[in-house]
Amino acid sequence: MSNNLRKEAVIIPILTSAWRLIKGNPAIWAIFGLVIIFSSVVPERFLSTGNLVAILKNFAVTSMLAVGPTFVILLGSIDVSYMGIWMFGGALVWLLYPYLGLASIFIYPIFGLLIGLFNGVVHVKARIPSFILTLAMTAVLAFLTTYVRNVSGVLTLTVPAYNFLRESPIPYVPSPFLLALPTIAIAIFLMFFTKLGTYLCAIGSNEEGAKLAGINVEKYKILAFMFSGFLVGLGSIAIFVHLGNQTRVDFDPSELVRGLAAIVLGGTPLAGGMGGPHRTLLGALVYVLIFNGLFLLPGVDPNHLKLYIGALLLGAVVIASRALKGALIA
């Protein structure tokens, strides 16, 4: 009897908090829905081991681009410098490898942090709109990456010495996914276990109120950009390894959209104030599932895939922002 009671006392809170989790994160519904649809329409191809491993890899790449910038979007600003950090950071690793050896991979997070610091200080002190600023940053860094490649006369900026990173110690779990875990852990920790997450939400939802509560708004804005850059840099290691220990050398706008799409699909509105990296992880999974599933569907021309994804995203963003508005009013 008492045993039963104890069981109930444990189970009911778990159920209620699970329900709250699902209710608060519409992306969970989308994930369930997508998995059910694709595994019933194309079960052999969707549920094959190879495909599931591919999903994990793509999830790692997408989330690594998006988790960091989520902190800036919480503020109601935006940071699209992640493409630049990813591309030129890799070029730096390649350039410095002859001098630093294996340690040169740590250039990535340091470089990201510095770019974030620069973005934050310029955005806050010179009051430059964050979108233009970080987009220009990406443009400059992407150009520099291509320039490094052209000047050095090689085809790709590959560092074969990191090949050992590509082998995963756990079967079926790809190494980019494992390499992504520290970034995810740090992001979640910052969001929920330090005051940073709370302060960024406060600034995003009511900047005046945050100021009145005695928050140093400028400092925390700069910190958000720094952590954004740092996390993108750290996460880029996973992408670097995923691409075969090399960086991207040509700029592709759809990669830029990928990061923002994961953030918005996850349920962090671009206006800021709510959401966080946990939602971005879900959003990244949604994005990857859509992309992967459509690719497997018979009759879908892979050449048109980007168009479908674009249209789908547009719709999803509209619906997501409406649904969130409703949640706010209720």
């Binding site: 709370t198 302060y199 939400c201 406060a202 109120g209």
Partner: protein, 517 residues
């Protein structure tokens, strides 16, 4: 005689929100031709609800409307009101800074000045010029709105209101006197700018009627022909200044009324004696901000409460905002604990020196969509973090919850749990959450701006209790409010301000004598 002058009459207007809140209770007012009519009352007295009914934003539950002696239906929307010659100039949010003056003047009115989709700019500028000449607005038509001084911006807004009525009525404009409602028009203006605006309004009186909504008594007394006083949704007084004379004090007492909670504290002991020997915590020396206040000097001892008292617009809330760093002073000194604080500091640097701020304005410093516990811990992170590795502070959810629960219990906040989001709480409970977070933080000095505005008697008592306890714990308070009884309950000393200058310092006893409390 009165009948001939009568323009608009609103009889027995009642309005209830959500079946509970009685915003207006059988209020009757009349508007005469070519007059300035003032409607005064505290926040929440029903002034804006009444005005919104007149311009068609709200529909009343009951009541009748007469225009020139004929009964007419209540306007269903602002455009219908406009056709009857009634419009409103809202307190803020009216001006669009990046439009040119003539663009702003015709914003939304362009329809009649468009041919084949092309704006007839010459015509628009021509009309702007003639309207401004007629109404006496002097400014460069080609400049942007944000380049104009605030008083001129307000004048352009008033001109826009008159113009839109004329365009809505069309040709028959001659026999209709426009009624322009001005909602707290002087709120953002400095003292000189206010005079300028009033001169302007007086000059327009010969062709228009104005309803002036305000709680700034001296302004109302200076400019109005008649005054209605609203309190708690009821009309409590009507004064025709052409036949009777009333004093500012009388009007003040009519606005504020008498509420029972004062009696509860009438016998309580005031902490004057206790504070006397204590060290001085806050010294303000010759604090000046041009156009708002000058040469403000006072001291606050440990555990003492100082009230800055005076009619709205006297500069008291600007002084409070300056102390907290929301507004920057031009000159003077602020000294906390014998160390000078930079007068250019922001709120966070003031907080690090021990100055906190609490405003009763809901939503100003409360995060409505956050649970109670987050709203509490936002200024109390030092109390809810653990440092397992010395350098990283990790939030303990348990400590956060316990802290919030302590405050909820202590302040008798009615909430299902500390997870409840703040928007779901009653007004009083919201305020209690706001003040409760400071109770835990215990700053050296707490600046209070209207701490109990718009909440019921019971919640007020709870908040007073907390504030009195803070005093006992050695926290110094600086109070700014509209309610003299609040000063009587909380303050040891009351500093009287007028027109931005310090007039006199009362002890609590003297203050109560002067206010007849």
């Amino acid at each position: 005689m009165a009948i001939q002058n009568l323009l608009l009459e609103a009889k027995n207007i009642s309005k209830t929100f959500d079946n509970v809140v009685r915003a207006l209770d059988a209020v009757t007012i009349e508007v005469r031709k070519n007059e300035i009519l003032s409607i005064v009352g505290e926040n929440g007295a029903g002034k804006s609800t009444l005005m919104k009914i007149l311009v068609g934003v709200y529909q009343p539950d009951s009541g009748e409307l007469y225009y020139g002696g004929r009964r007419i239906p209540f306007p269903k929307n602002p455009i219908e009101a406009l056709r009857r010659g009634i419009t409103i100039v809202y307190q803020e949010r009216g001006v669009i800074p990046h439009l040119k003056v003539y663009q702003f003047l015709f914003l939304g009115l362009e329809e009649k000045f468009t041919r084949l989709g092309r704006l007839q700019l010459e015509k628009i500028i021509g009309i702007t010029k003639s309207v401004f000449d007629e109404l006496g607005v002097r400014c460069d038509l080609g400049s942007y709105m944000y380049e104009l001084p605030l008083s001129i911006q307000k004048m352009v807004e008033i001109a826009r209101a008159i113009l839109s009525i004329r365009l809505a009525i069309g040709g028959e404009s001659s026999d209709i006197t426009p009624i322009i409602i001005l909602d707290e028009p002087t709120a953002p203006l400095s003292i000189e700018e206010r005079d300028e605006l009033f001169q302007y309004i007086l000059s327009l009186k010969k062709n228009n009627s104005f309803i002036f909504v305000s709680h700034i008594i001296p302004e109302v007394m200076r400019s109005s022909d008649r005054i209605y006083v609203l309190r708690d949704g009821k009309l409590v007084a009507h004064h025709d200044l052409s036949i009777e004379k009333i004093s500012e004090d009388q009007l003040f007492r009519e606005i504020v009324g008498r509420v029972s909670y004062y009696e509860l504290y009438a016998g309580h002991e005031y902490g004057i004696a206790e504070a006397k020997g204590k060290p001085i915590i806050l010294s303000v020396r010759n604090l000046t901000k041009k156009g708002y206040y000058q040469d403000i000097t006072f001291d606050v001892r440990e555990g003492e409460c100082i009230g800055l008292f005076g009619p709205a617009g006297c500069g008291k809330s600007e002084v409070a905002k300056t102390l907290y760093g929301e507004l920057l002073a031009d000159g003077g000194k602020i000294i906390v604990d014998n160390r000078e604080v930079s007068i250019k500091g922001e709120p966070h640097s003031r907080l690090s020196r021990g100055i906190g701020y609490f405003s009763g304005e809901t939503g100003k410093e409360l995060f409505l969509y956050w649970p109670i516990k987050k709203n509490v811990s936002i200024v109390n992170f030092e109390k809810v973090v653990r440092r397992p590795l010395k350098i990283v502070s990790v939030i303990s959810f348990k400590a956060e919850k316990i802290l919030a629960e302590k405050i909820v219990k202590k302040l008798r906040i009615k909430a299902p749990s500390v997870e409840a989001e703040c928007y779901s709480l009653s007004g009083g409970s919201k305020q209690k959450v706001s003040v409760g977070k400071w109770l835990e933080r215990s700053p050296k000095i707490l600046i209070l701006e209207d701490p109990t505005i718009g909440i019921d008697v019971g919640a007020r008592e709870d908040i007073y209790e907390v504030l009195l306890e803070m005093k006992k714990n050695g926290i110094s308070l600086v109070l700014v409010s509209d309610d003299p009884k609040e000063y009587a309950i909380l303050c040891d000393k009351v500093v009287l301000m007028r027109d931005g200058k310090l007039q006199k310092v009362y002890t609590n006893e003297d203050f109560r004598k002067v206010m007849e409390l």
